[in-house]
Symmetry: C2
Subunit: 217 residues, 2 copies
DNA sequence: GTCTATAGAAGGATAGAC
DNA sequence: GTCTATCCTTCTATAGAC
C-alpha cells in the first residue's frame, strides 16, 4: 500500500542491515507497511509481520531492533515520500482571471485526489493516532507534508497579480482548508459512500469559487 | 478529561450493571476515559484501568463484558456529549454586514476553541485511530458532531439576507474548513507551540474575512 | 458486587545452531 | 543472515470465596 523505495535514498533510516537491496528486508518492510497501514500500530504483532513477510521473527529482529523502530522507520519514510503535488504550477507567468480559475481547479483537483488516496489517508491516520507516543513522526509529517506544500502554493499565489493576497501563507492554508471541507473528514473516518470523481470535482469547484471571490484582485 | 455524565441519559449504553449511579462503575468510566484519551486503545490495559479506578479486574469485568465494549461505550458517549457550540446564534433576525461579521467572529471563535479543547482533540484522535476496527464510532462521531453542527450553521446562514449563500450546507462546511486551516492540524498532531488566544483570534479573523468577501450579498 | 488468585493465550524479544 | 525453539512478560478474561 505504502511505497518504501525512498529507503535507498535515506540510508540513515536503515538499522541492522545496511544493504538496502536485501530481499528479506524489503519483504519485511512491504509486509509491515501494509499491515500497519491497514490495522494500526497496536493491532499488528511482530508474529503477524514475520508471517506475512515469510521470514522468521529472528530475521525480523536482525533487521529492526524493535517494533517501535520498525514502525517509526516505515512511517517516517512514508512521510518523506508522500509529497503533495504542487510542482505543476505554471512558472510565474501572470495569468488572467479565467486562466487562474482553470489552474486552481486543476491543481486543486490534484491536491484533493492526493489527500483522498488510500495511502495518504493511511499515513494521516497512523500519524494522528501515534503522534503522542512518537512525536517525531508528527513533526516529520507536518514539516514535510503540509508545511512544504503550503509554502510552494503560497509562493505561487504571491506571484500572481490577478490575486490580491496580503498574506500568501494564510491564503494557501485557507485554500487547502476549503479543499478539505466536506469529503475529507468522511474519507478519513472510512465512512461510505467512498468519494467519487463527481463529488471531488464539486468540492474543488466550490473551493475555487469561494477562494476567487475572496481573493481576486 | 472526558465527561461521562450522559450515561444516565443513554441507558442503552450500559452493560452489566444497570445502576448508573454505582460509584465503582463511575470510577471505572472516569479512569478508563482518561487513560484511553491520553494513550489510545492499544496502549491501555485492563490492569491499568483497574488500578487507576482502584477496583479489581473482576469488578471491572462485572460491569463491562470486554475491553472492546468498554472502549466503544466510552467513545460513543463522548461523541454524543461533545457538541459543537452553535446554539448562541441569534434567532433569525436579519443582520447588517457589520453585525454579521461580529456574530461570525464570535461564533467562529467559540467553534475553533471548541475544536482545540484537549477533550475534542482526544476524541478526534481516538475515533480516527480506531474507526477501522470500530466503524460505528466513526458514524456516531460524524453524525452527531460535524453533521449536526454544520446543519445548524447552514440553517442560520440561509436565514441571513446579508449573505448570498446558494448552497448553505456547502457554505457552512467551508466556514468550518476555513476555521480548521492553520492551527488545527498542528494541535491534532500535538506539535508545539500550543495555540494561544492571539493565534486563535488571528485564524478566526482571517476565516471570517475570507468568508464574508466570498459570500456577502 | 467485590475481592484474590490464576488460568490460558499472545505479545516482544532472544539463544544457539547452521 | 537465517532458522527453530523458547523465554519471560503482559494481556484478556474467569473461577471461587465472601
Amino acid at each position: 500500500m505504502l511505497a518504501v523505495s525512498a529507503l535507498s535514498r535515506h540510508p540513515q533510516m536503515m538499522a541492522g542491515s545496511e544493504d538496502a537491496e536485501s530481499p528479506k528486508r524489503r519483504a519485511i518492510l512491504n509486509a509491515a507497511t501494509e499491515l500497519f497501514a491497514a490495522r494500526g500500530y497496536g493491532a499488528v504483532s511482530m508474529d503477524a509481520i514475520a508471517r506475512a513477510a515469510d521470514v522468521s521473527k529472528a530475521t525480523l529482529y536482525a533487521h529492526f531492533e524493535s517494533k517501535d523502530r520498525l514502525f517509526a522507520t516505515i512511517v517516517h519514510v512514508a512521510c518523506l515520500e508522500n509529497i503533495m503535488p504542487a510542482d505543476d504550477l505554471p512558472e510565474d507567468g501572470a495569468l488572467d482571471m479565467a486562466s487562474l480559475g482553470e489552474v486552481l481547479r486543476t491543481i486543486g483537483g490534484r491536491i484533493l485526489r492526493f489527500f483522498l488516496l488510500d495511502r495518504s489517508l493511511a499515513i494521516h491516520r497512523l500519524v494522528i493516532a501515534e503522534s503522542v507516543r512518537f512525536p517525531e513522526l508528527g513533526r516529520a509529517f507536518y514539516d514535510n507534508g503540509p508545511v512544504a506544500g503550503r509554502q510552494r502554493l503560497a509562493a505561487w499565489m504571491a506571484s500572481q497579480p490577478a490575486l490580491d493576497v496580503p498574506d500568501p501563507e494564510v491564503a494557501a492554508e485557507q485554500f487547502l482548508g476549503l479543499l478539505r471541507s466536506g469529503l475529507y473528514l468522511r474519507a478519513t473516518l472510512g465512512l461510505a459512500p467512498a468519494p467519487d470523481a463527481a463529488a471531488i470535482e464539486a468540492v474543488v469547484a466550490a473551493a475555487v469559487g469561494t477562494f476567487l471571490r475572496a481573493y481576486r484582485a
